[in-house]
């Protein structure tokens, strides 16, 4: 039993280091390198702006940070569905890919916001990615749409703030009657299994969940 206990202690330490370094975890040099390689020089200005926004936001209050980042993403990223961007029914793009394309769908918005807030120093325990059912008004009347938003919980039991692209403004959940939550998850919960997978390698060969797949790609691109 002793070796196992030791192993666990080491892993705890490792996770702790990851958590600490996660406060400033984006390797922009590497990110830029990948960006040029995949999308050419055009999106560099967007990347630089994003980097500056994140750096600026870090020194502000949490609430301000949320607003600045939410606004920056909603303004600078065009909404478009996966089929026209990636020619796939469903694709979760990494922040780099979203910036490279300059457009994304609801998951892409949520994901890049999640990473941006993480980079800006918001504890991940306060963030949840939530699948929601959105009621939309269309020309032919109201309809339901599968959607994803990012929720911010100031305290574990508080009412969350919703960062969304349908309504660019950040509102408390109670003011979003158009959305109905279905299932929420955060990266840590899934990471609780995932780092083991990633570190051991052998076990990770099984098919990754969509989320784990994304985490892997993000990490490869230089965001920890």
């Amino acid at each position: 039993m002793a070796p196992n206990a030791g192993y666990r202690v080491i892993r705890r330490c490792l996770l702790l280091t990851l958590a600490v370094s996660a406060t400033w975890a984006i390797d922009f040099v590497r990110l830029e390198h990948f960006l040029i390689a995949r999308f050419g020089p055009t999106p560099i200005s967007l990347l630089r702006d994003w980097q500056r926004t994140l750096a600026d936001a870090r020194s502000t209050a949490e609430r301000t940070r949320l607003i600045r980042i939410n606004d920056f993403i909603n303004e600078r990223i065009q909404f478009e569905d996966d089929l026209s961007i990636w020619n796939m029914r469903e694709y979760w793009a990494t922040p780099l890919e979203t910036i490279g394309q300059g457009r994304g769908d609801c998951e892409d918005f949520s994901i890049i916001k999640y990473y941006s807030l993480k980079e800006a120093g918001i504890p991940l325990a306060k963030l949840r990615l939530i699948y929601v059912r959105a009621r939309r008004e269309g020309p032919a009347g109201p309809y339901l749409q599968a959607h994803m938003v990012l929720a911010y919980y100031a305290t574990p039991t508080a009412e969350p703030l919703i960062l969304d692209n349908l309504i660019p403004e950040i509102r408390p959940a109670s003011q979003r009657k158009d959305l109905q939550p279905v299932f929420s998850f955060n990266s840590e919960a899934i990471w609780a299994g995932a780092p083991g997978n990633a570190a051991k390698g052998t076990r990770g060969t099984s098919q990754l969940s969509r989320w784990q797949d994304l985490l892997q790609r993000v990490r490869n691109e230089g965001i920890d």
């Binding site: 279905v182 299932f183 929420s184 955060n186 919960a189 609780a192 299994g193 099984s206």
Partner: protein, 644 residues
């Protein structure tokens, strides 16, 4: 440890290592697979539970019931729900129970799984986090079962592997054993060759050893050929190829005095008027005539393998038929042949004269020669081709017909009217090597003891020699057990015994009963007997060697050119015939021959003993010639206390 065993152990060990390694590797990979599957199951089940609870604004009771329902399926080690602040809300933990595998196994092959975690929400609010761990009992059970199955299968595989390994080794073992046997045989001076094995390494070895043996054999034969020449020069007449006077006389002496001789018939033949022939025909034609006469005289004895023809001097020839008594009609036939041969050279007048005499064992040499010579002179005096027989005292008190002999010897065997007499055989310092013990027999309780020569030749003819020889060996063994201090005791076996059915098995049984005494027993067979039954003698050598007896050839040297046959028998000693050793001081040719014999015999590890040594001068010369021992009337046993 023997090479086979080491090889076999190496095979088994490497196989066990390989199998244990594969067992270990497959166990580890099975465990890794189980861990992965259990972790995935944890994650999936946690997610499914959280998802189902999040659908309808959950309350504590619903959550508790759902958790209980899931947990009670029995497949979970623990299910816990913490509220968003981290406080434990609901917990279900399975009691520690039977894991389906022994404790030590579980400890050494621990299954580490990642618990599954998922968020439960109630509308927008966080309700809690579910943490779920599936039970690993099934994993341990599966691992334990597959371990046992694999151990059983691997054990079976080891047995099959071990069996195959020993088959392979057995294939290797046969040629290796052949090489080892050859090496052992060579150590025992048994120079055999073996068929070359197919295994390359062993083939090299076998070729090397075979070559060595062949070279030794060639060397041996070359040396033998050289010595044969020396022997011929020393003992043969260069013109006719018959033996010369000295050699003939010494052979005749053996026939008269030898332990085994029974007497025989002696002819002296004289060519009439050789000087006149020489004068008339010239030297070359005379030599040619003498050569032809020599052939005829030699041919006269072909019926008797022991017969000896000699050229005594210019016109005189001699023929000796040992152990054979023939009448004057035999001499008449010989004379007739000679007359016919000489008819081409002699116009008229006599051609040849023959004087003959039948003698028995113990007749004096001088007396015999003078009487036969007198008969020859009497024949010559007649002036025509003539035969005269000398009247030599041959009367006997012994039986004459074969039936009588058979009855008498059988009775003696039954009554045990047998004993051994002993003659010392000493080394060159005069210390006893062994006692040579010929058999004596009496035909009646009151009768005198007969020497072997008087009854053995007859016994051989009527097939009683094997029984006599067995009795002699039994007496010898008894004597050896009585006299523990006696270094050795030699018994000689007759030629017909060694080839007789059952003799060797009887001898084996006898030796088996006295293993200690057998190691001090020396067994010898006469050279003529050995050459007559080489294969039987070879078997005898093996038998005797197995009982640690010493084996030798006696009366050695007469058929020296056949020595090649003896080199691979594994003999211990030879006893050189008296005809070579007697009057050695006057015969430098024989001295050279004997030096050669001892050198060649020592090469193959034989002890060389001289027979019939009559005096100190001979003894000294034999010592110089390299002899290891001697026996005979002139041999003196040194005081054992002084010698040591």
């Amino acid at each position: 440890m023997s090479m086979y065993r080491q090889l076999w152990l190496a095979i088994i060990l490497s196989m066990l290592l390989g199998l244990a390694g594969s067992l270990f590797a497959s166990l580890l990979s099975a465990r890794a697979y189980l861990e992965q599957q259990l972790s995935m199951k944890n994650a999936d089940n946690a997610l499914a539970l959280a998802l189902s609870l999040s659908q309808h604004e959950p309350d504590a009771v619903t959550v508790e019931l759902s958790v209980a329902a899931l947990f009670d399926s029995g497949h979970y080690e623990s299910i816990r729900i913490h509220d968003p602040k981290g406080k434990l809300m609901i917990e279900r933990v399975a009691p520690a129970g039977d894991l389906g595998a022994p404790e030590w196994f579980v400890q050494r092959l621990h299954i580490n799984t990642e618990p599954g975690e998922a968020q439960i929400t109630s509308g927008w609010r966080q309700f809690g986090t579910v943490t779920l761990v599936s039970h690993s009992r099934f994993g341990y059970q599966a691992l334990w079962n597959s371990t046992r199955t694999m151990i059983a299968l691997l054990t079976l595989a080891s047995f099959i592997g071990g069996y195959l390994g020993s088959l392979i080794l057995r294939r290797l073992r046969r040629p290796l054993q052949a090489v080892i046997n050859q090496a052992a045989a060579i150590t025992n001076r048994h120079f055999v060759t073996i068929p070359e094995p197919k295994v390359p390494e062993l083939r090299q070895l076998a070729i090397a050893m075979n070559t060595t043996v062949a070279r030794l054999k060639t060397m041996f034969e070359d040396e033998a050929a050289r010595l044969e020449t020396v022997r011929r020069e020393a003992n043969f007449d260069p013109l006719t190829g018959l033996i010369n006077r000295e050699f003939f006389i010494s052979q005749l002496r053996s026939s008269l005095e030898g332990e085994n001789s029974t007497g025989g018939t002696l002819f002296l033949i004289r060519v009439a008027d050789l000087a006149g022939l020489n004068h008339r025909l010239g030297r070359a034609a005379t030599d040619d005539l003498l050569r032809q006469i020599g052939e005829k005289v030699g041919a006269g004895g072909t019926a008797n393998p022991e017969a000896l023809a000699a050229r005594m001097n210019g016109a005189d020839f001699a023929l000796l038929l040992p152990d054979q008594r023939v009448g004057s009609e035999f001499a008449g036939a010989l004379l007739q042949t000679l007359v016919e041969t000489m008819a081409a050279f002699v116009a008229d007048g006599p051609s040849a004269y023959i004087g003959m005499g039948v003698f028995k064992h113990g007749t004096g040499l001088r007396r015999l020669l003078s009487q036969v010579d007198a008969a020859l002179i009497a024949a010559e005096a007649e002036g025509v081709n003539a035969v005269r027989e000398a009247a030599i005292d041959t009367d006997d008190d012994v039986p004459h017909s074969a039936e009588e002999w058979s009855q008498f010897i059988t009775r003696s065997l039954q009554q045990q009217w047998l004993r051994l007499v002993s003659f010392p055989v000493v080394d060159m310092q005069g210390r006893l090597l062994h006692d040579e013990c010929p058999l004596r027999l009496k035909l009646d309780a009151e009768a005198e003891w007969l020497p072997a020569g008087r009854f053995l030749p007859v016994a051989e003819r009527i097939g009683l020699a094997p029984e006599l020889d067995i009795s002699a060996v039994a007496l010898g063994l008894a004597l050896l057990e009585q006299q523990q201090a006696l270094r050795g005791l030699a018994i000689n076996l007759s030629a017909s015994s060694i080839a007789a059915a059952n003799f060797q098995s009887k001898l084996g049984v006898l030796l088996q009963k006295h293993p200690k005494a057998a190691s001090r027993l020396w067994i010898e067979v006469a050279e003529t007997g050995v050459l007559k039954h080489v294969e039987a003698f070879r078997r005898l050598c093996t038998l005797l060697r197995n009982h640690h007896c010493q084996v030798g050839v006696e009366h050695f040297g007469r058929q020296f050119s056949q020595i090649g046959l003896l080199h691979d028998l594994g003999l211990n000693y030879i006893k050189v015939d008296a005809s070579f050793t007697r009057r050695l001081e006057g015969n430098p040719g024989n001295q050279a021959f004997l030096k050669g014999v001892t050198a060649i015999a020592h090469n193959i590890g034989l002890l060389v003993i001289a027979e019939g040594v009559a005096g100190d001068a001979e003894f000294a010369l034999l010592k110089e010639a390299g002899f290891d021992g001697a026996t005979g009337p002139g041999v003196k046993l040194a005081n054992p206390d002084v010698g040591v």
